[in-house]
């Protein structure tokens, strides 16, 4: 009996017909996200849900047959949270991609989960509106996935994270029941805030089938862009902290260390970067953009930076393109484990010191970029082969502990998924880990939702 002849697939097909996909392309494609991790084998089937009812039907069948379900949007995650393996149903929400409502007067939109972040942005821009969350994957990731991972992005220090931009979520529970969480009003404290609980829950609490998003109006005014190079990454980190300390809030403040910068320059065939030099790329926006950019330029120069400033939007995008090419530059070097620690902003220089120490102690090069405006770092580990070597996990372990010591966290915006479940209890503490796992069991008593992710087995503690 092949996988697609199993009774559960037969049940799914009887109920959902052609929306049940057992083609090898679909099954193989669902084994991996963008984390570089791949599941040990193909899942049973991919259900291309087209409606809330399809999701409910799938989950009812999954519950009655005790079959695990992995919910999947565009598969752009970086922690293996949407990777599906043998014996699992993949529930794809990619076809549920409609915008159901845009209300400029109430600054809200109601959407299905499968809509691509950037497609929503285009539709909203036509009405002078904007959903702030802007993960680097915005052109390829879904809003449902952004919510499920609690995604961040480049603009978070000024404009917030996904948690700040969702009013309500429609959730199908493991047994197929539909609940409407949250509200459409700006304020609302009726009962527990289950909307926030679902944000970042990575498919463990239910399937997000709709969301009420909190919008902003498009920001008027110009955009100014600065780049500044510094002799060392520490100097760049200190300069970024000086910008924040000066009371200026840029829209974007990105830091690239020397290795990252050199790799991108090679990829883009730009003139070779000064050896050892690190770079800050900063954008200001809104009507105060120009004055803030001048203030920032002064702070950066006082911190020893060599500064370029442009008021031209296109020239600014060209400067920012260096930062945006980081992912491609890393991919050109080998397989990449992109880490995601986050620390209080003032600890950014200390965290770069820790990374330098880890490079030395573990004999590795760790190209690192940071959302310096909010203290979120992405150290990149480059490796050959299909899975992360133990030596790299040992260095990553060292990295996680350093971030936690500095008052930080394992993951700022990518999530726990499969990759970090073994460190989760260490950060949360055993009591909180157990509390969280029990909450998951309230939503999913049989444990069929994304098993093997986030809350797995016993902890280190």
């Amino acid at each position: 009996m092949t996988a697609h002849d199993t009774p559960v697939v037969a049940q799914l097909r009887a109920a959902l017909g052609e929306r049940v996909d057992t083609s090898s392309t679909a099954l193989e494609g669902a084994r991996a996200d963008k984390s570089g991790q791949i599941s040990p084998g193909a899942p049973l089937a991919v259900v291309h849900a087209e409606s809330v009812a399809d999701v409910q039907t799938t989950l009812r069948i999954a519950t009655t047959t005790s079959t695990p379900v992995v919910t999947r949007g565009a598969g752009t995650g970086l922690a293996g949270g949407a990777n599906a393996g043998p014996g699992e149903i993949v529930l794809s929400t990619l076809r549920m991609n409609r915008i159901l409502e845009i209300r400029a007067d109430d600054l809200l939109a109601v959407v299905e989960p499968g809509i691509i972040n950037d497609d929503l942005a285009t539709a909203l821009a036509a009405q002078g509106l904007w959903w702030a969350p802007d993960p680097a994957s915005r052109q390829i990731s879904t809003v449902g996935g952004n919510i499920a991972t609690g995604a961040g992005g480049l603009l978070c220090a000024k404009y917030g994270v996904v948690r700040d931009a969702v009013l309500g979520v429609d959730l199908v529970l493991a047994d197929g029941r539909l609940v409407h969480l949250g509200h459409r009003s700006v304020k609302g404290v009726t009962g527990l805030d289950l909307t926030s609980l679902v944000i970042g829950s990575e498919g463990t609490l239910g399937v997000i089938v709709g969301a009420t998003l909190k919008l902003r109006r498009a920001i008027p005014g110009t955009v100014c862009t600065l780049t500044a190079t510094f002799p060392t990454v520490r100097a760049a980190a200190v300069a970024s902290a000086a910008v924040t300390s000066a009371g200026i809030q840029p829209a974007i403040m990105e830091l690239m260390d020397a290795t990252s910068l050199a790799a991108v320059h090679r990829l883009l065939r730009l003139p070779e970067a000064t050896p050892g030099a690190a770079q800050l790329t900063i954008q200001t926006d809104d009507p105060a953009a120009s004055g803030e950019a001048d203030q920032i330029a002064a702070v950066l120069r006082a911190s020893g930076g060599s500064v370029t400033l442009t008021h031209d939007r296109e020239e600014g995008e060209r400067l920012l393109a260096v930062r945006r090419s980081m992912h491609a530059a890393m991919a050109s070097l080998g397989n990449t484990l992109i880490e995601d620690v986050s620390v209080p902003r003032s600890a950014l220089p200390a965290m770069f010191d820790e990374i330098a120490r880890i490079e030395t102690q573990h004999g590795l090069t760790i190209p690192t970029i940071a959302h310096a405006g909010d203290g979120n770092l992405h150290p990149n580990f480059i490796f050959d082969g299909d899975s992360v070597p133990d030596a790299i996990w040992r260095a990553a372990d060292d990295l996680f502990r350093a971030a936690i010591r500095l008052g930080g966290t394992l993951t700022g915006e990518h999530g726990i998924g499969m990759l970090k479940s073994r460190w989760l209890a260490e950060e949360l503490g055993q009591d909180q880990w157990e509390l969280q796992r029990q909450i998951v069991r309230v939503f999913d008593p049989a444990g069929i939702l994304n098993p093997g992710k986030v809350f797995v087995g016993a902890s280190h503690a």
Copy 2:
């Protein structure tokens, strides 16, 4: 045996000495908050906790003796959430009022729960910082209470609610264990967002013994204040929606209906208000204040308003004092049930239509103010005697259903407490209500935390 001779009180006293208070002043004072509701009798004792250890000790004794615990800050709640009755221990966090840390560079503060919102504001202002949540009770309410109720205030449309301004919470569980929820970094998605779950949980999940608050820098620039009178409350509501629709975001936009305005004018001995006239009071702030105020004035005049505009901060405060005197004006009329429905901003005129209908159908006058900028209304029911008459509950019931029909919610910022538990399941739906109650049971398996509040018995549904 009197209440303070009971074994549990003896145990508390043996462990906590003079911090266990059984004076009749303390016991009587803990029977009521500011909701106008009073519990049927005095609680066992008030524990004046001075440390996390005191809270843990109290909860360990409560758990081993199965004694209910009502956590209480300043007792300024408006839903009866902190009212304590016979057989209950009151756990006061009012003496835990220290600021443990203020970090301007990381824009965060770590505080104990008992600090008064306004005292924190004073300390932060000295460093050019600001915690945005500004409930009307800010001069008398604690930060812990603000978090426990998920408080709102006047500035929410522009600067957010408590949920947007808390990074982490230290929570003592029912059995005395301490867990640290959340993080100190801007971003963090490690596990479920239990911080948000605790915000607004009204003492049902644990005792908040510390909080890491997300700060803002003090807003530079001037403050402009406008008042505008309109012939009807509906016209004022339409005008406020027109301001929002015009894409302008005032810091404060408050609406007073004719009855409210007349009552305040009488209280403050101001010239009599024009019969039937309703008023908007609007403040703009930050460097754009002046231009925005001019834009708003134009919108209000185009909407038929008679507008006064001042750029003088003191004159502005004098205008805003009319709005701030609402609570005192209502208190001068009799006992007051202050309701708290919230609707999408565009539904504000329709909600005022519903209130007018309810006034007619139920033969009542319902003076109403609204945070028009965010769609949160406070209809006031005036009554004589110690408890809310059934006729008023019938009108309130009508009010709640109307708000829900308009896409709104039972409570925007006051919480469920004792007063609204019977409507909770109607808004949440029976499935979600049950899910929420099970989550509470994960935190508090024995049900000793604030029993009889929020999740009570069976529902209407």
